[in-house]
Point group: C2
Chain length 327, copies 2
């Protein structure tokens, strides 16, 4: 790889979100050399999206010395399938919500035939941590992305776990509350980790607690339907007891889930990524406590609990670019 | 490997149980060429156990042409650690219950320096299925051993998941019933899958159901404390409604657990191994039904539910021998 790197020192990363498609050209150290973005939903077809992407990319490719300097491209996208290089039935992207889009091949064809790897954003984050972040040198770890949903990327024996179909690593959909009392999940099932521990889940816990009790809280100044996990975090950092309890509850459930995940792959680290971890120790402390309390004794004290080492603003692009080095 | 195999066509497998230590000399096709056994607990020290093992092995090694025909040895043992070649604090083995025994090195030193791999019995079963059994050609699958306990061996990307410490794959200790109502587990925690779905768990469910209701059952002819999972299986096969309900309950919990495991590694198969699966469709049908009902839609219909392809009587020895081919 090293000789090739000398000639082709860069990869393109694409963080394909529901709103923005952000591109970065990245070197092996994780330094972003150039960046650009387009609106994901401004196009009716995948072809139109690719056309606009390539037009946006051309100036930044030229800026680093042309396509011959680019080794490959990595795409982090909802429902990205690594084996097929596709995104499949991605509900939040209008040109991919009802079909399978061969995004990898389409980009490759327009970018001089460079290899293009596609996976979901959580898997991209996991490779990102391994290539540029806090998981450098690790062979067994789990990245949990706490955002609008809960995603996961799992690395075992130094390799990402894609499973038999490319869709492995959906720890956000482990059932934490069984039976009818489990919260309804977007996946159609009940009681998934995501319904409690995503940003959306935290806001829901806040509304439930405010509704169920008459305890005073700074959160009562906000219209219930407008409460976000950020509001809860701000209130908690001001010492609001109810807000702190929400993070206790959320962290406890995450810690218990991590204790279960440990029985699977006994990871050396759980790495947390995404907007929710801005709450810092408010969320990390209860996670660690619940893990220590619930994990099987053989695993006790072995796993680290870490916060993502990727720069917040560009973390997703870095993650996407990282899978480019793997192809 | 092929050239070496020509010269050294056999591996030794050791199934180290709490009662018997069974040795087999096995070829690449999984044919057992010779076998011998000693009593595990008849020795006060690991050294004495090894001495007796080597004495018992010598005649069968000679029988296949001497130690130069043996490629390696694989040991399936409680608390076997693949990375270190040790068994560690194995509660049921008196010469290993309070210490770390470097079993791999001890055997290797006495057997002409052949490589010796050690792992737990469930991991050995998983490699056994991959080398000789129903998982031939598979890259992603889970073996669940349903016996006195519930063990698991997990294969991802064609490799066994040992985790950061060699102790990964303890799916029997995923928490299925949270909180105080969970059954007490031998691991010191509550609500583990094993407390419900092992042979012991099935007998416990039987006692609970008999105690809670006054429904008629063939199982009432047996003293509650003497009921085994085999009794439940026999009663169920005679049409006993209560016994059938016990398998429904057990299979449902296993199916739900498998649905959670799928989110981890999206396996192409779940393979069931051990005494409990002699109950056949009584247990397999409810597992499949509960899985289909609870699994996330992206995984639906993708995984096979299979019964071990290793010959029952010698399955554990075959499993142990199989890890010999991997070193």
């Amino acid at each position: 790889m090293n000789e090739q790197q000398g000639i082709k020192p860069y990869v393109i990363g694409l963080d394909l979100g529901g709103t923005n498609a952000v591109f970065g050209i990245v070197d092996q150290r994780g330094e972003i050399k150039a960046t650009t973005a387009i609106k994901t939903q401004q196009y009716d077809t995948a072809e139109a999206f690719i056309e606009a992407s390539v037009n946006a990319l051309q100036p930044i490719i030229d800026q680093v010395g042309g396509i011959e300097k680019i080794r490959s491209m990595g795409v982090g996208a909802p429902n990205g399938n690594y084996y097929k290089g596709t995104i499949e039935i991605a509900p939040n992207i209008k040109w991919a919500h009802d079909c399978v889009v061969p995004l990898g091949k389409m980009f490759s064809d327009r970018l001089g035939g460079i290899p293009v790897a596609v996976t979901n954003d959580a898997n991209a984050a996991a490779i990102g941590e391994m290539v540029y972040g806090v998981a450098r040198g690790m062979k067994n770890f789990i990245v949990l992305t706490l955002g609008t949903g809960v995603g996961s990327g799992i690395v075992v024996n130094g390799q990402l776990v894609y499973g038999s179909d490319g869709f492995a690593g959906e720890l956000g959909h482990v059932t934490m509350v069984r039976g009818e009392e489990g919260r309804m999940c977007g996946c159609g099932r009940k009681g998934c980790l995501e319904t409690y521990c995503s940003a959306t889940g935290v806001a829901r816990t806040a509304r439930e607690l405010l509704d169920k009790t008459s305890r005073p809280s700074l959160l009562r100044d906000i219209k219930p339907e407008d409460i976000t996990s950020l509001d809860v975090s701000i209130a908690a950092s001001k010492g609001d007891e109810l807000a702190k309890e929400i993070y206790e509850f959320t962290g406890k459930m995450l810690g218990e889930a991590c204790a279960d995940f440990a029985t699977f792959c006994s990871p050396e680290a759980f790495i947390f990524f995404g907007g929710m971890i801005k709450a810092g120790d408010l969320i990390m402390d209860p996670i660690r406590r619940a893990y220590d309390e619930h994990v099987m004794s053989v695993y006790k004290g072995k796993a680290q609990f870490l916060v993502s080492g990727l720069d917040g603003a560009s973390a997703a692009v870095l993650g996407a670019s990282a899978i480019g080095w793997e192809v």
